[in-house]
Symmetry: C2
Subunit: 143 residues, 2 copies
C-alpha cells in the first residue's frame, strides 16, 4: 500500500492524474478524505469541509463523492442501511464494523483468505468480494 497524499500539491497532482479539474471544493473534500484515512459519510464530510468557512454545498459534496467513486479514487462501504461510507483506501481489503458505535476498521486483504467461492453463472464476472465482520462489546445488551 502506498502512502496517502497529504498536502495540496500532492492532492492537486492526484486529481489532475484522473482528469479532474482541481477546484477549491474538490481539493477541500480530497483533503478531508485522504489526510486521515477514515471511513466517512457524506454528511460528516460536509461538516468537516465547512468547519473553517462555509464554502461547499451539500450538492457539491455528493457530486464530488460520486465523481471520485466513478474515477476509482475512493470506494463506497455498505455496512449501515442508514448511510454510505466513503473509503479512501481502494486496495482490496475488508472491514470490521462495530454495530454499536458505527466505527469501521480495515482488515488487510492479505491477512485473510476465502476459499470455496462458488462458480459464477456463465457470462458473469466478479466485481468485488466484501467481507464485513460485525462486532459489538460483549457486555452490551443481549450479551
Amino acid at each position: 500500500m502506498e502512502a496517502m497524499p497529504y498536502n495540496r500539491p500532492m492532492l492537486l497532482a492526484l486529481l489532475r492524474k484522473h482528469d479532474i479539474s482541481p477546484t477549491h471544493q474538490r481539493l477541500e473534500i480530497a483533503q478531508v478524505l485522504f489526510r486521515r484515512c477514515h471511513h466517512l459519510s457524506a454528511d460528516q464530510i460536509l461538516v468537516m469541509v465547512n468547519k473553517r468557512h462555509a464554502e461547499t454545498s451539500k450538492a457539491t459534496v455528493y457530486n464530488t463523492l460520486n465523481l471520485f467513486r466513478d474515477c476509482g479514487l475512493i470506494r463506497e462501504v455498505i455496512v449501515d442501511p442508514k448511510r454510505v461510507f466513503y473509503d479512501p483506501n481502494t486496495e482490496p481489503h475488508h472491514h470490521l464494523y462495530n454495530v454499536d458505535s458505527g466505527e469501521i476498521t480495515d482488515i488487510a486483504a492479505d491477512a485473510l483468505s476465502v476459499s470455496g467461492l462458488p462458480d459464477l453463472p456463465p457470462g458473469m464476472v466478479t466485481v468485488g468480494v466484501d467481507i464485513i465482520v460485525r462486532i459489538r462489546a460483549s457486555d452490551s445488551l443481549l450479551g
Copy 2:
C-alpha cells in the same frame, strides 16, 4: 437446514413459538417471507401482501419486519444503499449480489471458508461475518 413452513397452521405455530400474537397482517407477511425463500425489500413485501386485498399498511409492514428481525425469525441483508432486504434464512450463509439486476442469491456457509480473521479488540465479540460477492454480466458497461 430445515424446511420452510408453508401453510397457515405452521406459520401460526412459528409465530406463537416466538411469543408473537398471530394477527392477520403478521400471518400475511410471514407467508410472503417464508413461502418463497426470497430476499425481499419492505416495499416489495408491502405490494405482495396487498395484492389480493389492500389490508396491510406500510407502518405495519415495517413494524412487523423489525419485530421478526428482533426475534431472529428473519435477518437483514445490507448490500444496496437504497434499501434493506429481508432474508427468511437465518442460518449462517453468504450472498451473491448481481449489481445490475439487484438479484440476491445464497451461498451456503459450509461451501465457503474464511481464514485469517483478526483478533478482536478486547471485550468485543463477533455478531456475524457477512460475505458479499458482487457480480455483473461480463459484457455490461465497463466490461
